[in-house]
């Protein structure tokens, strides 16, 4: 039930380097990143702004190639990686000429699947994302949070075994954010996709993750790998538990010494 064709579920980076040329200067964004997300694992990546998190995701999904190092998907180096993973970029990037409903079925459409079936499924999920009643609105008329939820639904409907989510809840209010965190954990417990999730929010990191990677500021490297042994399913009461506070503290200390 959790397996989609043409998709992979295990991500491994070994010693990935990436530099950009900016106004003639060479900016090293990634300085040797090692990271693993095993099948069905919820991995969170946290780090200061500009440390190369988005660059890392761009490399994983095949939009860029690393200068050196390797990206292994299901244990193999894959030349043409695009289309194998679900990717939600930091910007919502909705197509302004499409209504919400037609925006979210972009993935199935590109895969050549039946649009009508995709629409029906999308309509069924609208209430979960708080988008009910806005199926036929243009993105320009939506609030920032609604646009981001639309983008998240679009990523989910791509139906990939692994998803890269770049600050998906960044622009949301605390309430919607919590609702969607739980929705995401719920979906994930059913479908067990591999998730690599980027965030700035320490609470969010601990609440969602099996494992958290902390990155250093530029050039980005992995500074700390922290297992989150809290039981699943997670509940809100855990946030006040000492175990939670302990993990959170370790992350904060690691981030503050940046």
């Amino acid at each position: 039930m959790s397996s989609y064709p043409d998709s992979v579920s295990e991500i491994e980076l070994s010693n990935v380097h990436k530099a950009f040329r900016l106004d003639g200067r060479l900016v090293t964004a990634l300085g040797g990143v090692n990271l693993t997300a095993r099948s069905g694992e919820f991995v969170v990546l946290i780090g200061p702004s500009g440390c190369g998190k988005s660059t890392l995701l761009n490399i994983i999904c095949g939009l860029m190639e690393p200068d050196s190092g390797e990206v292994l998907l299901d244990g193999r180096p894959v030349q043409n990686r695009t289309g194998l993973l679900g990717y939600m970029l930091q910007k919502d990037l909705l197509l302004p000429w499409r209504k919400v409903l037609d925006n979210v079925i972009l993935g199935p459409e590109i895969s050549g699947l039946d649009r009508k079936a995709a629409r029906q499924e999308a309509e069924r999920l609208m209430p979960h994302f708080g988008l009910e009643g806005f199926e036929h609105s243009y993105p320009a008329t939506l609030s920032g949070g609604m646009r981001q939820r639309t983008a998240l639904l679009r990523t989910f409907l791509c139906r990939r075994n692994a998803m890269l989510l770049d600050e998906p809840f960044g622009a949301l209010d605390a309430l919607t954010r919590r609702g969607l965190q739980e929705w995401l954990l719920d979906v994930w417990s059913q479908f067990r996709q591999t998730i690599l999730f980027v965030t700035h929010d320490v609470d969010e990191a601990v609440y969602l993750a099996d494992r958290v990677y902390v990155m250093t500021s530029r050039p980005g490297r992995i500074k700390l790998e922290l297992n989150v042994p809290l039981p699943r399913p997670r509940s809100r009461d855990m946030i006040t538990s000492t175990g939670f506070a302990d993990l959170k503290k370790q992350l904060l200390v690691s981030l503050e010494t940046e």
């Binding site: 095949g62 939009l63 708080g130």
Partner: protein, 288 residues
């Protein structure tokens, strides 16, 4: 989760009902239209009145400068003549526009397809716009005769440039992040073109088309000046040779009105085809 869902749901209902409340009742719509269009209409009207009064006070002869009223009278009196001439000019305009659309869009696509072709063609396109039309028109008559073809070519020559440039630019400036997203989703070049770049270029295309439309009728008239048996251009030439200045002005008025009508038609078409382009949150507020 339950509680939050409910809260989210109730937030939505207030959301959508407040949008509905902002809908202005139909009764005030004419008022809004009046507010929008009254200023330009008043300005135009005052200019015409000033003109009318001016010619009346100075008693300037009709063959030198007719008054607006005399122009209207002349236009109505000559309507039997003006009708067929106008129709001829319209035919040339539409054929020319059609040709410029075909050629312009094809060129824009070709230039989008290859950067090399783009660099090769662009200077040539710019050069084509530096040729004085009035010098070229007689040559076109020598080459293609006195028929409709040279006029159609003149119109197309005037109109295709804004169409090519605006469409090519529209295709080129597609949001690179959007293109990246589609690539990450596994889309091929064709899918990226049809799902992102082409729809994104349509507003820009319409900007070009609006410029082209404004020039098109004048293009046809210029094409006729040089040599034609029918059309508003030749009507103007004949009238001015006979010092029927009021008829010249009547023909000018018809030319302007045709241009304006065609422009408005394109604007309406654009509004219908691009609802998303005009769907902005601000619009809701503007209506209050």
């Amino acid at each position: 989760m339950k509680v939050e869902e409910n809260q989210a749901a109730s937030a939505q209902t207030t959301d959508s009902s407040s949008v509905a409340n902002l809908r202005v009742p139909l009764g005030t719509r004419p008022l809004r239209l009046l507010q929008r269009y009254a200023p330009p209409l008043v300005l135009m009207l005052s200019l015409f009145i000033a003109w009318q009064v001016g010619t009346w006070l100075t008693q300037v002869p009709k063959w030198l400068l007719p008054s607006p009223w005399q122009i209207i009278v002349a236009g109505v009196e000559a309507s039997d003549l003006l009708g067929p001439h106008t129709w001829q000019t319209l035919k040339e305009t539409w054929l020319g526009l059609g040709l410029s659309l075909v050629v312009g869009l094809a060129l824009a696509l070709v230039m989008d397809f290859s950067a090399l072709l783009r660099r090769t063609l662009y200077p040539l396109l710019v050069a084509s716009q530096t040729v004085p039309i009035l010098a070229l028109a007689p040559l076109l008559i020598i080459w293609f005769g006195y028929g409709i073809l040279p006029k159609v070519i003149v119109v197309a020559l005037v109109c295709f440039f804004p169409i090519v440039v605006s469409t090519a630019d529209g295709l080129r400036v597609a949001d690179p992040d959007l293109v990246a997203l589609l690539r990450a989703m596994g889309a091929n070049r064709r899918q990226i073109f049809f799902k992102v770049r082409l729809p994104g270029a349509v507003p820009s295309f319409f900007s070009g088309l609006k410029i082209a439309i404004t020039y098109s009728v004048v293009g046809a008239v210029i094409g006729e000046w040089v040599g034609a048996s029918r059309g508003l251009g030749i009507f103007m030439i004949r009238s001015s040779k006979n010092f029927l200045t009021d008829r010249v002005f009547a023909a000018i008025a018809v030319t302007s009105i045709l241009s304006i009508i065609m422009f408005v038609a394109v604007v309406i078409l654009e509004r219908c085809l691009l609802p998303w382009y005009y769907a902005h949150r601000e619009d809701v507020w503007e209506e209050v």
